[in-house]
Assembly symmetry: C2
Homo-oligomer: 222 residues x 2
């Protein structure tokens, strides 16, 4: 078998060039302001459908990257898998943090008592503890439904990353979230349709962190 001989640190750069080349062949040019996010999502999924599906509200990337540069923000995820995929070096370098409440015992208790999901309770906890956090869902539409309701009630997170994957209430919850974020001026990155996932969620967080940190040792990204 013939492999390309590329140093580990150059694989990502080569991948991004391939993505750029194939987009150009399709006659697609991604606006510079959102390019690192779009390319990283395609890099993570090998799925060019995201060019059509991924919606980024006006100025969202610039606004949140500026805040991440200042530091002190927290990403609140709806799976430990997404949390695990967020680059810890980039978080530390930029002075930001990330957490996930899903595995905490009191979250399970509260969800059971109220007949709702742990993801919904986790997002409520996150909005209470980090009102200006970045809320990240790669899994649970109920996380998005909760965030949409809380934005309508006046909450103002710094950003919502809404990319759950699936077949039940996923499409609807993402459409509603996009509408709510546009109405209330909340920066949002949302993958319309069924596709998404914890890997896509983490890749968006990382793209934003890399933009804010202006380059992190690529060997530390996984």
């Amino acid at each position: 078998m013939e492999y390309k001989h590329i140093l580990p640190g150059d694989i990502e750069k080569t991948s991004m060039s391939i993505i750029e080349g194939e987009l150009a062949e399709m006659g697609i040019k991604i606006d510079e302001s959102i390019r690192p996010v779009m390319y990283r999502v395609i890099h993570t999924s090998a799925d060019f459908d995201y060019v059509k599906n991924l919606r980024i509200t006006d100025g969202a990337v610039e606004a949140v990257v500026e805040k991440l540069r200042t530091g002190g923000l927290t990403f609140i995820t709806d799976t430990n898998m997404a949390l695990s995929g967020i680059n810890k070096s980039a978080l530390s370098k930029t002075g930001n943090s990330a957490c996930c409440y899903m595995a905490e015992p009191d979250i399970a208790v509260a969800a059971k008592e109220r007949g709702t999901t742990r993801a919904a309770v986790s997002m409520e906890r996150g909005l209470a503890e980090y009102p200006e956090g970045i809320f990240v869902s790669g899994n649970a539409p109920t996380a998005l439904i909760t965030i949409s309701e809380m934005i309508r009630q006046g909450h103002k997170p710094s950003m919502v990353i809404g990319v759950p994957v699936g077949f039940v209430n996923v499409v609807e919850s993402k459409e509603e979230l996009l509408q709510v974020c546009e109405e209330f001026g909340i920066p949002a990155i949302i993958a319309l349709g069924r596709k998404g996932g914890s890997n896509v969620a983490a890749s968006i967080c990382n793209a934003l962190l890399y933009m804010a940190s202006d380059g992190v040792d690529p060997d530390k990204r996984y």
Copy 2:
């Protein structure tokens, strides 16, 4: 917005029915022996491309599920993200375990000294410590290249799950692995083409564990 009112525990069942229904509409029937794996991969990705891409060597699922039922097997992953996505309740219920060496400092040192990747060194370490392990790659083609070489040298892991995603050496490393596994009779589940990822890798591990454990509390799956 109108949502389907479905109890959290029933969402997965409903999703699987939707997947089955859409496959039937496409005139596709998945063989019963591999159905839980295929459905779970589609459930995790919302991507029906896997019907064409996912290759499972003859009898692979039956063989590994039988071993997982006995217990004592270890999944060795090439990302902490895939490790994080493997259901810990199902591991514990079946008496199996999972590990990832990627973040261990001596792995980074060895990779740097030898000019290779941490994933390659991790797989070598895994094959040394768990010769009958299940080797899981959702990220690094170099992990697969290493495993292919070691199988040629006589190693006999219980299974290789080869589903890295990406644009450089990914397609080639998966094709070679499939060829090697078929030649040496090693059970394998491989997503040909560019697509895959840590989420897909974890979903395959979980499908096998659920088959071995005959049902795990669905609330504990994420």
